[in-house]
C-alpha cells in the first residue's frame, strides 16, 4: 500500500505539496518489481564508471548533505570517506533487514525498486574501493529474497559486473539489523552486536574496512549520482534536503509507506494519511522512539534537527498514531515487553534490567502496581541506559520514559490502581 487512491482521501494540494515520486516513481501502478529495462527507462542509465575519480561520487553525496536513512541519520559522505581512506579492499554491506516491526519502507523499496538499491550499492562500492557487496535481508522474507536474487542475476546477465553481489538472509531478531551484529553474522558468528572498537569502517567483514548503509540511503545515492546534489536539494527543507521514506501506521485512514520531503510538518503528514485530528498521541521513531501528544508536535518538521528540541527523532521515518481514548501505557507496555525479549542477552543491565522494567510497566498498565512502581521505574530507567554494548537498552528505556512523560496523568491514575478500562 503506497498512498491514497485518487478519488479518496486528503486534498490533492496536500499530497502535491509534501509527497514526491523519486524513489517511489511508478509504484502506484506497479504489480511487480521493476526490471532492469524498466528501471533504466525510468531513471536513465547508470553513470559511467569514473574509476579515475571515485572521489566524485563522495563529493556529490557530501554536497547533497545526504544523511543515513536507517535511523541514526549519520552523514553518508563522512562514512564513505572514512572507509575510502583506509588501505586495502573494502566491503559494502547494504542493510535491508528492517527488523523494526513498525517500519515497512525498506521492504517496500526492495520489492518495487531493487535495481535502484543495487545501483547505489555498486556506485558506493566503487567509490570506497569495495570489491564485494553483501545485501542483508531478513531470512523469513522469502519473496523478498527471490526478488533480490532475480535482480542480481539480471544484472549479471546484462554484464553489469565489477563488484560481486551476494544476498544473505539474517535471523529475524530486533538486534540483527544493528551494524556490528550484521558484520559479526557475515563473519560467521551470531547476529548480535559486538563492542566497538574496532568500528566497522576500521575492521569489519573479514577484517576489512566496511561501509554499512541502509538500502534507502543507497537508493538516494543512485539518484544523486545521476541527477546531482542540486537536484537532490530541490525538495525537503534547508537543514535536511531531499526526500525520505516514512511508514505511517495505527489510527490513520491510510496507513502505509510514503515518500515525503524531509522536514515536512508532522501535522501535514498525519493529515495526508487520514489522521483524525490532534487529540491523540503519536510514537515517533519506531519502537526506540518517543511518545508525544499529537498537538505538541503537529507543527514540528519531521527531521532530526526539527524534532531535537522536543526530545524526538524521526528514526527510520516511523510514525505510529494512537487514537484519542486509547491507553498509551498499555501500548508502551506491549512494546517494552517485546523489546525486553529481543535483547542479545550479552550484557547484564539489558538482560536483567529490561525484563524488570517491562514487568514494572505491565503492572502499571494493568493498574495493579506492586509497591511504588513509578518510583521504581524512574530509578531503573535511569540506571540501564548506556550500560550495554549496543543501543538496544537505551532505545527501550527512552521509549518507556517518554511514555511516562507523555501520559503522566494516566500514569498517576494507573499507579493509584485506576487503570483505563480497556487496559484490562
Amino acid at each position: 500500500m503506497t498512498g491514497p487512491q485518487r478519488d479518496q482521501g486528503p486534498p490533492g494540494w496536500l499530497r502535491r505539496r509534501i509527497t514526491h515520486r523519486r524513489l517511489t516513481a511508478g509504484w502506484q501502478n506497479a504489480t511487480r518489481p521493476a526490471g532492469l529495462r524498466e528501471h533504466y527507462d525510468r531513471y536513465g542509465p547508470l553513470p559511467p564508471d569514473r574509476q579515475q575519480c571515485p572521489q566524485a561520487l563522495v563529493d556529490a553525496v557530501a554536497a547533497a548533505r545526504l544523511t543515513g536513512r536507517g535511523g541514526a541519520g549519520f552523514p553518508t559522505a563522512t562514512k564513505m570517506r572514512a572507509v575510502a581512506e583506509r588501505r586495502g579492499p573494502a566491503v559494502l554491506v547494504a542493510n535491508g533487514v528492517e527488523s523494526e516491526p513498525a517500519s515497512r519502507k525498506d521492504q517496500a523499496l526492495l520489492s518495487r525498486a531493487p535495481h535502484l538499491v543495487l545501483d547505489g550499492a555498486l556506485l558506493a562500492a566503487r567509490a570506497v574501493g569495495a570489491d564485494v557487496i553483501h545485501v542483508c535481508l531478513d531470512q523469513t522474507r522469502d519473496q523478498q529474497a527471490g526478488i533480490m536474487l532475480r535482480a542480481i542475476s539480471e544484472r549479471q546477465r546484462a554484464g553489469l559486473g565489477g563488484v560481486a553481489m551476494l544476498a544473505h538472509g539474517l535471523p529475524s531478531r530486533y538486534v540483527a539489523s544493528e551494524e556490528t551484529a550484521m558484520i559479526r553474522w557475515l563473519n560467521g558468528g551470531e547476529a548480535i552486536p559486538t563492542t566497538v572498537p574496532p568500528r566497522p569502517f576500521e575492521r569489519g567483514v573479514g577484517g576489512r574496512p566496511t561501509l554499512v548503509d541502509n538500502v534507502e540511503t543507497l537508493a538516494h545515492v543512485a539518484l544523486i549520482a545521476r541527477y546531482g546534489p542540486d537536484w537532490f536539494g530541490q525538495v525537503g527543507d534547508a537543514g535536511t534536503p531531499g526526500t525520505m521514506l516514512i511508514t505511517v501506521s495505527g489510527a490513520v485512514g491510510y496507513p502505509g509507506v510514503y515518500e515525503i520531503g524531509a522536514g515536512s510538518r508532522l501535522g501535514d503528514v498525519l493529515a495526508l494519511c487520514g489522521g483524525n485530528g490532534e487529540d491523540g498521541a503519536v510514537l515517533i521513531g519506531g519502537y526506540f522512539g518517543t511518545w508525544h501528544a499529537t498537538r505538541d508536535v503537529a507543527c514540528l518538521p519531521l527531521s532530526a534537527p526539527g524534532l531535537r528540541d522536543a526530545g524526538a527523532s524521526p528514526g527510520a521515518g516511523v510514525i505510529s498514531a494512537l487514537p484519542a481514548g486509547r491507553c498509551g501505557l498499555a501500548e508502551a507496555a506491549r512494546i517494552l515487553g517485546f523489546l525486553a525479549g529481543q535483547g542479545a542477552r550479552q550484557c547484564g543491565p539489558c538482560m536483567f534490567g529490561l525484563p524488570a522494567v517491562a514487568s514494572d510497566f505491565a503492572q502499571l498498565a494493568d493498574g495493579r502496581p506492586d509497591g511504588d512502581v513509578l518510583k521504581r521505574l524512574h530509578r531503573r530507567l535511569g540506571a540501564i541506559g548506556g550500560r550495554g554494548a549496543c543501543r538496544h537498552p537505551d532505545g527501550a528505556v527512552r521509549m518507556a520514559a517518554s511514555a511516562l512523560a507523555a501520559f503522566a496523568p494516566d500514569a498517576s491514575a494507573h499507579a493509584a490502581g485506576h487503570p483505563c478500562v480497556e487496559a484490562r
Partner: protein, 73 residues
C-alpha cells in the same frame, strides 16, 4: 593525571570483585553489574589497577582520561 575506568558489558558476568576493591569508584547495580562513579585520581590508581587485575572475566580496563588507549594496567 586522572585515569578513566571502562568495563566491557559483554565480557562482564557480574562477579563483583571490582566493587570490593574500589568501592570509591565502582558500585554494583541491583543485578550485580558495575556502575562507574567517576574518574580515578592519582591517589586511587594503585587500587584501580588491582581491581583491573582481579576481574575474573578481564572485563575492566584503565585508560588515560583524555581518551587515548592505555590498554590494561
Amino acid at each position: 593525571m586522572r585515569q578513566r575506568l571502562h568495563w566491557d558489558p559483554i565480557a562482564c558476568t557480574g562477579h563483583g570483585l571490582c566493587a570490593d576493591l574500589l568501592p570509591e569508584r565502582i558500585e554494583l547495580d541491583e543485578w550485580g553489574y558495575p556502575v562507574i562513579l567517576g574518574d580515578v585520581p592519582p591517589g586511587l590508581a594503585r587500587h584501580a589497577r588491582r581491581a583491573v587485575r582481579a576481574c575474573p572475566a578481564l572485563a575492566l580496563r584503565l585508560q588515560q582520561a583524555d581518551g587515548d588507549h592505555g590498554g590494561r594496567a
